[in-house]
């Protein structure tokens, strides 16, 4: 049986999600899969692709471009190739594809995926806008409405696929990691969409009361709204209060969790999690988001109760 199990050549943990293609090549060299001939071929094909992109940028009207522009074009090429490789079932499969397919075909495949991602992100943005919760936080609305719209206006995936353009001032709870471009927007919109649905589970008056208790000027602060609401919902669930009202006895919670560390707090939160989700009427993606956030929420809860 053991000979049927092929040991992975590439350790996924060693790959950089922000620089996937290059980190895969580096790992491939370390594993003895990418030799000098392959490196030379990839370098030559990269040069050819860069020349093609430069011609596209200038409309064929200029044989030269600024070096900084060339760097950006090449970053976009590598970003696009990375997108195609991330779609492979495993890093080993991605490396096999690098070794067997011309870089131009990986680039074209990456562009096709990027176009699909942009179309999906636009649709998700529209759906999120149509269901945007009544939050008065200026950064929440500013980023979700104006910031993301700005991205779609400025994004040029054919030439500068790696650029994000916007700063996304409003922070999501889960964060987006180190990705850029459409990958960042995709993750950010997913997080915003799910957090928006979670926030919509509560009456705006209850949420406002809670947030004013944290900071009178919460409407003008750069702060994530999901975290305090999720903590309060779990606080209610843990103390037997109505989680939907975001109102519970903090002293009762402190007594309930006395002596508990983050690990045991998280275990208690996990035990209550299904009932809480049923109470809130949370859909599947919201449930997954809440479940994924339990470890950090538990740490925060323990911190706040100290």
């Amino acid at each position: 049986m053991s000979e049927l199990i092929r040991r992975a050549r590439i350790d996924a943990a060693a790959l950089d999600e922000a620089d996937y293609f290059i980190s895969l090549l580096t790992a491939g060299r370390g594993a003895g899969v990418v030799d000098n001939a392959a490196t030379e071929r990839i370098r030559n094909e990269s040069t050819a692709l860069l020349a093609r992109q430069a011609a596209l940028l200038t409309g064929g009207k200029s044989a030269s471009i600024r070096t900084e522009t060339a760097h950006e074009l090449l970053s976009s090429v590598f970003y696009t190739v990375s997108i195609a490789l991330k779609a492979c079932p495993s890093p080993d499969a991605a490396l096999d594809r690098v070794m067997s397919a011309p870089l131009a075909s990986l680039f074209d495949a990456g562009q096709a995926i990027i176009r699909r991602k942009v179309a999906y992100a636009r649709a998700l943005h529209q759906r999120t806008l149509s269901a945007l919760c009544k939050s008065d936080n200026v950064y929440y609305r500013g980023t979700v409405v104006g910031g993301i719209s700005g991205f779609f206006r400025l994004y040029r995936p054919a030439l500068f696929a790696h650029e994000t353009h916007i700063t996304a001032d409003y922070p999501t709870f889960s964060g987006e990691g180190r990705v850029t471009g459409i990958e960042f927007i995709e993750r950010y919109l997913h997080n915003i969409s799910v957090e928006n649905r979670f926030i919509s589970c509560f009456m705006s008056e209850d949420a406002d009361r809670l947030l004013r208790g944290i900071a009178e000027d919460w409407r003008e602060r750069v702060m994530n709204l999901y975290e305090p609401l999720a903590l309060a919902a779990f606080g209610g669930a843990l103390t037997g209060a109505d989680a939907r009202r975001l109102d519970f006895d903090i002293d009762a919670l402190a007594m309930h969790l006395a002596g508990s560390d983050a690990g045991s707090t998280a275990a208690r939160m996990r035990a209550l999690f299904p009932t809480l989700c049923d109470e809130l009427g949370a859909g599947e993606s919201v449930r997954q988001y809440i479940e994924h956030s339990i470890p950090r929420l538990a740490e925060r809860m323990v911190q706040l109760l100290r």
């Binding site: 580096t26 990269s46 020349a51 009207k61 200029s62 044989a63 030269s64 600024r66 060339a70």
Partner: protein, 161 residues
Amino acid sequence: MTECSGIMNTIINEAMGIDEQCRALLECNAVTREHGITLSAHDAAMLASARREALRNTGRVEFAGGTAERLVTEFAASPYITQDSFAAALAALTELFYLFKNETGDLISDEALIKYMRRTFDGECRGSIDVLASDALPELARRINRRRAREGLSAMEAADE
């Protein structure tokens, strides 16, 4: 990112080989001969090196080539160019070309810039590369940048809408 930058620098710095450039320049003799101008192998090597230096000095990279050859065939027909002055003049004109591609924000095509350089070199500059560098080309850059400022404002207004 260090690996990526290293690969980028290697690709960008070796975009076109010197031998390839020399060959392309010498092929221009088929055209320049009609005007009594011929590039020697030494001239071609000097011009290829000057082109590389000019690209480095102006922070540019060229993939397809053709700029130096285009300058050679265009200026070989100038009444102010002689066999003796040709190679040195072309080296200076090459540097000016890339410099003013930068100064004009890459808003003018290679062909249009070369045509402008030849027209003004033969015209108001009366064959002086110094006057071309200090008057005619800066004037072109000013005109283009004024237009860019106007169009840039329009683009911003459209974005706000």
